[in-house]
Symmetry: C2
Subunit: 312 residues, 2 copies
């Protein structure tokens, strides 16, 4: 059992109508690994940071069980930094700045000890960089991939190449519509799966998530939260919970994938409860189990009484 | 068992990127009653039409089991008419015209034979008109109400009066946010229920529906449709399926209400498959039962394996 996650490890600066964080630990790989490590005994990170990356952040990841052999440090470079401001409804945000810094020249190197990873998790990055990781691993049982509108718009050819080499794509609904050039999500899902990934997960924020595999569609609710502090990283926490659960299971069948969507949804719901990845640092098994049970209760339909219409 | 539905019976003219209908039978009361009559043996309509309302439309309603004693005909007036054009994604529409005509002076008269109705269903109308119906019925077991942004914005005081007298409000998500002046739907739901209705259903179109009652939240998926012809009346068909199912049940408890949301969702999903109320005219019990079962399959989570975290 093992997960290799590539993505960003970053400095985030988050503003909401209620609070500004200043610089905090962020990045897709941070959220993915911090969520996955609750479920998988071996969570391996491939990313790059600059010489300015604090030891305390390294220790946060390490002490939470993330394998950091694949974390490259560029002593002369600066860590990737992102700043964003959320609108009042927390569903929309403006990017205030993006400093690629060490990401500009990032060439991922997968440590030999990571080559046998069971699940490879490609966080949101340049699709070319994502493929460079696939070139350096043996035969993962599953390759799960994220992307975003930037790559859909600016590197469509490269993204298509990556899509051919993955098993599962996890994107949000607006990205799915853009990638498929189709407003109807069900049609969009069919088109995207024809591009490569057999399995597609579409995240819809407050509206939950949808899983498409074989001839099945599974719809998962979002956990109803009255007090969302910070949506940053929710999608990555979803991915971490999703692959984390899958790494616990023997098989990767429909039943497991549906449960994985619920695990992902649960971790996303925790992530937004506090700023940055803070909430992912102190979860208990009991808190996770209670949240998972809440999902079952939320969408469980009382058994269907056989229906005889008024006409019969 | 009986349902009284008040609302509009109208001429609709619908344009989508794929088709224009010209004048077709429409209106909230039309969709509500045509959906409800699959489940309830007594569906009673209160509405007004003009002298121009064709006998063929009357016959459509009557032959489909709708009680028309409460359908007033103003021989000198013209029937309410609405025209709308849907955008490419079918989620947005522009109103092309609204001719209130006979609605401008509509004073609902509830026939004596309707006074004992078990469920009263207040379709989208002026909140004052909605209350006039409540003044003319005995003691319905449940009053279910719809409204829209126009009344939220233009007659807020009157709407508040109506909300105090109903048991269940069914509105869409943007209306819920506007009524509660709150972007978070969970918070909005709490505020709206404090205005009167113990039970709240929030319709979210392609994202399904949410039921709030007691301390429970229930989340229902939307049926995944690749080919939506015409969204007109989907919300009213939902209401019809919802009240139709409730009228079949002895009790109005949480279990029944959850099932009612699924029945409503199923009828809405049928309604959009063809233009106008056409699809609601020829459903079979078997088609309805198959659709209901599909909803169970869509959102049924494989049973939760007890969770032991990696830390334990």
């Amino acid at each position: 059992m093992s997960i290799l996650a590539i993505g960003t490890v970053a400095f985030d600066a988050i503003e909401t109508p209620f609070k500004s964080t200043g610089q905090v630990l962020g990045g897709s790989a941070t959220y993915i690994t911090l969520a996955a490590r609750y479920f998988s005994p071996s969570v391996r990170l491939v990313a790059v940071v600059g010489g300015d990356f604090p030891d305390a952040y390294v220790e946060t990841l390490r002490s939470n069980g993330v394998d950091l052999e694949g974390l490259a440090v560029d002593p002369d470079g600066k860590t990737f930094a992102w700043g964003g401001r959320y609108h009042y409804d927390l569903n929309q945000r403006d990017t205030l700045f993006t400093h690629l810094n060490v990401l500009e020249t990032f060439q991922p190197v997968v440590p030999a000890s990571y080559r046998d990873s069971r699940i490879v998790c490609l966080g949101n990055l340049d699709p070319t960089t994502q493929r460079q990781v696939l070139d350096q691993v043996d035969r993962p049982e599953m390759v799960v991939c994220d992307t975003m509108n930037f790559w859909i718009e600016h590197t469509p050819e490269s993204l298509r190449e990556t899509l051919k080499r993955i098993d599962c794509l996890i994107i949000n609904d607006s990205e799915a519509r853009e990638l498929a050039e189709e407003p109807n999500l069900i049609v969009a899902a069919r088109r995207i799966r024809a591009m490569g990934p057999d399995i597609l997960v579409i995240k819809k924020g407050e509206h939950g998530a949808m899983l498409f595999m074989d001839d099945e569609i599974f719809v998962a609710p979002a956990y109803p939260l009255e007090d969302i502090q910070d949506p940053t990283g929710a999608g990555d926490a979803f991915m971490g919970g999703f692959v984390g659960y899958l790494d616990r299971t023997q098989t990767l069948d429909a039943t497991c994938l549906k449960r994985a969507v619920i695990y992902g949804s649960a971790m996303a719901s925790f992530s937004v409860e506090r700023f940055g990845p803070e909430r992912l640092l102190d979860l208990t098994d009991e808190a996770i189990y209670t949240r998972l049970q809440a999902f079952y209760h939320l969408s469980s339909i009382p058994s269907l009484v056989s229906f005889d219409g008024i006409s019969s």
